[in-house]
Symmetry: C2
Subunit: 188 residues, 2 copies
DNA sequence: GTCTATAAAGCGATAGAC
DNA sequence: GTCTATCGCTTTATAGAC
């Protein structure tokens, strides 16, 4: 029995592996071990090797956030989009059991490889959220602060929930962040 | 010329390297390259190899936080200790240019190696801060929430400031977190 | 498009001289 | 306590059969 893949099928699988093992911890043999995809296939789809695989995963993640989070924040009803963001974020990160690959890459030297992509992901998230807050009637300065607080807070919640290995803490922290953001909408 | 080290001199050097490169990214050859300490010396001080080196670094970090942050939070004047915490945290993480090794280890599979130490570091931080808040007159439930918010927020600030590579964002986020914590002290 | 075989380099770790 | 030499293994990457 022989499975034939498309590049688009492989990228999400690679994403989970990079998330769990980190960039340095991810090796071709462990990819093969977990997915059954051999080196031949991997280099066929990603001639640039591991670095191209990680870049493809980052682009895939970015695309998902662009469609599911940023675009609605920019275009849909602001309050509804913000509410949807919290639900999507909780789902995407599987209540804290799945980490943010972009955030993890930012922490160690991996950042140097993908610096523009990492930066862009967060800049666009904060900016889309900031604009949505402004549309709800929030002042420009307060909107930036609130957007930074929310995006930063999500990353912190991911670190803490992994460190403590407690089921509830991610959701609890997300709720608190959502309340802070709701307060920024109505006031000032 | 030949330099002779003590274990206590090496651990902080290792700490900076693990912080920059991560556990998997840190190799013995890169340690030698950056410190001039050869494999012979490293295995003399750390017979358990790389894992023992990382464990020693974690213990060293833990000891620093215990002395500089947790202990004052438990014993000194609560409001003063909390104020000192923010200053110490900003200094320790060098305004966001230095990451939290414990948080970074929590994100990938490295967590499995050091799970108890990682968990303990955050549990004790949150608990010491919670107790300090209670001593200021904060209710138990609100104190736990505020302590979690602060500790989680610091981790998020580290991720975001590394990702954006902006000098100011770490301090700005820390100030916001400090205000939130101050609000929890006086009220409720 | 996937497989096996293989290359060159780097890995953690050990041994023994000094 | 530090050094060099070396082991066995794994790494990324390539080549070529199918």
């Amino acid at each position: 029995m022989k499975t034939v893949y498309e590049r688009a099928d492989i990228v999400p699988l690679l994403g989970e592996i990079f998330r769990e093992l980190g960039y340095e911890g991810t090796t071709l043999s462990r990819i093969t071990e977990r997915t059954g995809i051999g080196k031949g296939s991997l280099y066929h789809f990603f001639p640039g090797g591991k670095e191209e695989m990680a870049a493809a995963v980052l682009a895939d993640v970015d695309g998902w956030f662009e469609t599911a989070i940023y675009e609605p924040l920019r275009q849909d009803d602001a309050r509804a989009a913000i509410e949807a963001m919290w639900i999507n974020v909780n789902d995407y990160f599987r209540s804290g059991s799945r980490i943010c690959l972009v955030g993890a890459f930012a922490l160690d030297e991996t950042r140097q490889r993908f610096s523009p992509a990492i930066r862009d992901y967060f800049v666009r998230w904060i900016d889309a959220l900031r604009l949505a807050l402004v549309r709800t009637g929030c002042s420009g300065e307060a909107a930036l602060a609130a957007a930074e607080e929310a995006v930063s807070g999500i990353q912190g919640a991911l670190v803490l929930s992994r460190a403590l290995d407690e089921r509830d803490i991610f959701g609890r922290t997300l709720n608190r962040l959502a309340e802070r953001l709701a307060a920024a909408q109505s006031g000032n």
